[in-house]
Symmetry: C3
Subunit: 442 residues, 3 copies
């Protein structure tokens, strides 16, 4: 996907009034499906999922707050943030003082419209800039919200990109926030870019599952249907959120268990300066869908990847979170760096030396220069260093590939990055000396 395609896709998606259910969510998913062939699934309103229940589908047709002075103070046409998400219908003429409890503003950001939801408690209300709120005269107002709650469905989109093994990497994001950029569209857009990159890889050791759902309730629904499968097959996963913004580095939130393959990879890349990534420790106190994947009954190896993190920028959950703040380029940068991380992940597990009894005969496999007699030969000293270093890598990989030492550990023992070892791993695999657990070509 080119920059202009991503720009255009963003511009189509941005104004849609999305929620955790409803037409806005489906329309958004369909726009993404031009680039990532997600299968759209549905679960009926009212379905019990663990401690939760799929809510009625929210239909929103119009929302407008007008004064007796004829002015419009908030309108869904101007911003999908103008109405409380999941607002109940209302058609009342009321005084300013009666209206006030239904108005939401941000006094410290007088030009911003806040993002407010009330999914599980029936309420109605408007969100508007504090500047506008202050200008409202003490007159009668017409609060008009044409919304409806229907027995509909909750939707999500899913796609499995097969690899050599049926063990899976889960990449997921959410699509339930209306007109917000970094803390909404960055996630599914980077997911889309990643799909395009990974589908072009020559080989994939792991299978990659792509999932886009409404936040929280969507992942709980997904887990109720697929939790057992994930507990059996999932190697690691990433919730993608807030992947735009000006921050230089990606910011990784560890899995709850802290020792998943993805945690090891991030730690290794940082330690070896291969890619510097900020690290936040797992917490259940804030975050996105990893809170569900990492609830104690599942405790899945699920991390979360962000760049400019929720709660840490002014525009968080308000109308300042727009394309200018997010930056389309940031999305490409995030996708490129996550691709590198996933590439490292493919090689980060524990391998098996298939000739584990004594040292393998490297000579007969062209893996071993005759070291005893290179002393008088005309190697440049640089060549000697290179050959010896490569040989050391070979010997370390073979000695420690016993199913217990991850390749990241071996790389650190070699004082190098896993990226330095990948060509050798592939050569040793090609020569039949090295295998990986569950590798169908072993």
């Amino acid at each position: 996907m080119e920059v202009k395609d991503l720009n255009a896709l963003f511009d189509e998606l941005f104004p849609i009034c999305r929620s955790i259910t409803g037409q806005g969510f489906r329309d958004s998913l369909n726009l993404l499906r031009q680039y990532i062939p997600l299968e759209v699934k549905s679960v009926s309103s009212g379905t019990q999922v663990y401690d939760w229940e799929v809510p009625a589908e929210w239909v929103i047709r119009e929302a407008r707050l007008t004064g007796a002075d004829g002015k419009t103070y908030a309108s869904l046409e101007d911003s999908s943030l103008a109405v409380i998400n999941y607002s109940a219908p209302v058609d009342n003429k009321i005084s300013l003082s009666e209206l006030k409890p239904h108005l939401h503003t941000l006094p410290h950001l007088p030009n911003a419209i806040p993002y407010v939801t009330s999914y599980y408690k029936r309420d109605w209300g408007f969100c508007l800039p504090y500047r506008v709120f202050q200008s409202m005269p003490d007159i009668e107002y017409h609060a008009y919200i044409d919304s409806e709650f229907i027995e509909g469905e909750l939707n999500y989109g899913e796609l499995l990109l097969h690899g050599e093994s049926d063990r899976e990497i889960l990449l997921t994001s959410y699509l339930c926030h209306p007109s917000l950029a970094n803390n909404e569209l960055s996630g599914p857009l980077v997911l889309t870019l990643l799909y395009q990159k990974l589908s072009e890889w020559e080989r994939r050791r792991y299978s990659y599952r792509f999932l886009i759902n409404p936040e929280t309730i969507g992942s709980i629904v997904y887990l109720s249907l697929n939790g057992n499968h994930l507990m059996e097959k999932m190697v690691s996963g990433l919730v993608l959120t807030c992947l735009g913004g000006p921050s230089t580095r990606l910011s990784y939130k560890t899995t709850r268990r802290k020792d998943a393959l993805i945690d090891q990879v991030i730690a290794h890349l940082n330690k070896t300066n291969s890619l510097k990534i900020d690290v936040r420790e797992f917490t259940p106190l804030s975050g996105s869908d990893e809170r569900q994947y990492c609830s104690p009954g599942f405790n899945l190896p699920m991390g979360q990847m962000a760049r400019t993190v929720y709660g840490q920028y002014e525009g968080y959950h308000n109308s300042l979170d727009n394309k200018e703040f997010m930056g389309i380029d940031s999305l490409f940068k995030s996708a490129n760096e996550i691709e590198q991380i996933l590439f490292a992940l493919e090689y980060a597990g524990c391998f098996f030396n298939l000739l584990p009894f004594g040292e393998p005969r490297l000579g007969k496999r062209d893996l071993y220069p005759n070291m005893n007699n290179y002393m008088t030969r005309e190697y440049s000293s640089d060549d000697i260093v290179d050959n010896r270093t490569l040989l050391n890598y070979v010997l370390m990989i073979l000695n420690y590939s016993d199913g217990e030492h991850p390749m990241t550990w071996i790389a650190e023992k070699c004082d190098c990055s896993i990226f330095d070892l990948i060509p050798i791993i592939n050569e040793l695999k090609a020569k039949g000396v090295l295998s990986i657990e569950g590798d169908p070509r072993a």
Copy 2:
């Protein structure tokens, strides 16, 4: 029990000439039974217990050392320390030089009578102040000890205070030393106070076993009869000793395994400044009955609690260890602090989130303020902090109550004391969201 009751009980107990067997021990136990309904058990003299044998019961009627000058230099009537504990009978007129090997003094504490025993090697002798010893003229002496060894029994007192679970906390002390205060009566008296406190608790998660026996041989006898039961049911335990004296803090000797629940609790209370307790590492080289409970064949989760520790004060094992040194107030202080520790212990284990799949719906259980919209509401900032902190506690407890993270760990993760979490734990239990392993009300 009031201060005056404890004072009176102490004064009745103090002069009795106790030993590891015999009437003095039984009389003492019966005095305690006014306040703690221990059942008195007996084991016959000569019974084999592991490498040991229950010794013959010691009967002591009179002991007096008089000179040809008509003076009494040592007398059981004056002090139960005056005769070697388990002394053989004697009725001899002998010279000072023949007598000297049978006299025990403390030259560095010339006014103190030492406490000397010879349970397993037949010997006779008197203990007296070095000041008296120095005044003895070189004349003939009459050494008279009217004692006897009979086929009798060894006794101990035991009581089980039931809790919700049949898993047990063992609280034990010894009652074999004659007129010594800190290193004798403090232990069973604090045990008695604890019985009274714990029997008044509204609920007890664990069952509490109270045990008073003669030191060493008594706990070996007890283990020979109940060791298997303890290995199955005992969660943690405390040997109570030396709980009086002027030291500001309790002093805890860890269990041999160092990771018992009681060890975790003490470490947590110290770490969070909830209650500062000195900690001594387990050693088999000195101490009380924990040496038997922590012998390698049992290795029970048994710590030891003291205040002014044996061997660390002048009056240790001599007549300076009296009520003035010990202090009746010290016993109340010790009992109050140990009660706090046991209260923390009740909540210190690993709990289970009963809705572990995804986050529980806190809203529908009144555990969760609607956080998204508190921005324009009129909370004082203090309230917000409080509510958010409480919510954090709820979320941390629920996420980490997976049967693997002790509540002390969760409290430290929350940067608070376990005492801060107890109201929330009880609320979550009451709402059916949280349980404890083995909790019959789960």
Copy 3:
């Protein structure tokens, strides 16, 4: 063996042109057998061993490089290093420029003859001092090597010295290098000294297996025949190499697993200043036969012991590695220190208190002074310290001998060396209170 015997044995062994197979190896083994009754074993040329094959036996009769000027520039008669080890036969008159690729020198050590091998790639060549190489005129040369490859055998020598248990300590070295001292003869000679020492021990807890083989292929052959036995029975082992030279301390290379009994012993001796030994961490990148024993399929508890380590001295793999550099005294020193290490190893494991329930009655076994009444007795204060310290050792050994705490750990807990505990361990064993796992006399 006296100094003069070892000197004479060395002088007989040194000039022999040994290789990984052949008469030189057998002759050398037979000379050693005067002092260590190794059984000589053989495996036929061509035998498959894992990824390897036993090579054809190398027969070398004569090797000489003469110039048309009548001078001899290299000759097997002058040094067994003069010919590439495993050189193919040649009988050619060739020019200097054709000859040069077959000449091996060390420009930075112009007087030294390098040691060059080409076991698995057919090649021929001479090794000579760079000083001689520089003096060679541009004339015709006669390269004459009378060698042959025959279907013969590979040999090794093995001996089991029985101990109380059938669990084994493996002591091994190699014997395939020609005229080199530190990096060849030091190993089998120290092994021979150790055999003589250990066969004179009053008792051996473990059985000791002595093995001398050609390096690499020899240990691979040995593992192919005995690897399963070793995995079942081997407690620890040492590859002996480079045990001469001027270094003050022994230098130990850890096992791959790093937690073998031998690793624990070396760490303990260092920590308690009982014997200071340099420690190198295991690496598969260089070394001797431990690379085979520690290949991932075996992962045996095999360390390596050296003094002046291969690669760390000028004469490594060249003719400067002679008796003067090595030092016969060094070998005695190495043997004495390794004997101490093995003596510590005999006691370093986990023992069992045979009376583990409660404290054993030390009194009735004469292991326990009556501590309560030593206050007025006439011990010198020194005696009290000694007796108390010994009693502490007894109590610590008994409490922690539960099959889980190694005696080195107990010694460190006692703040002493394992050598301080050995007399007590033996006393406790003699009194039937202490045993060792698998000890047939338990």
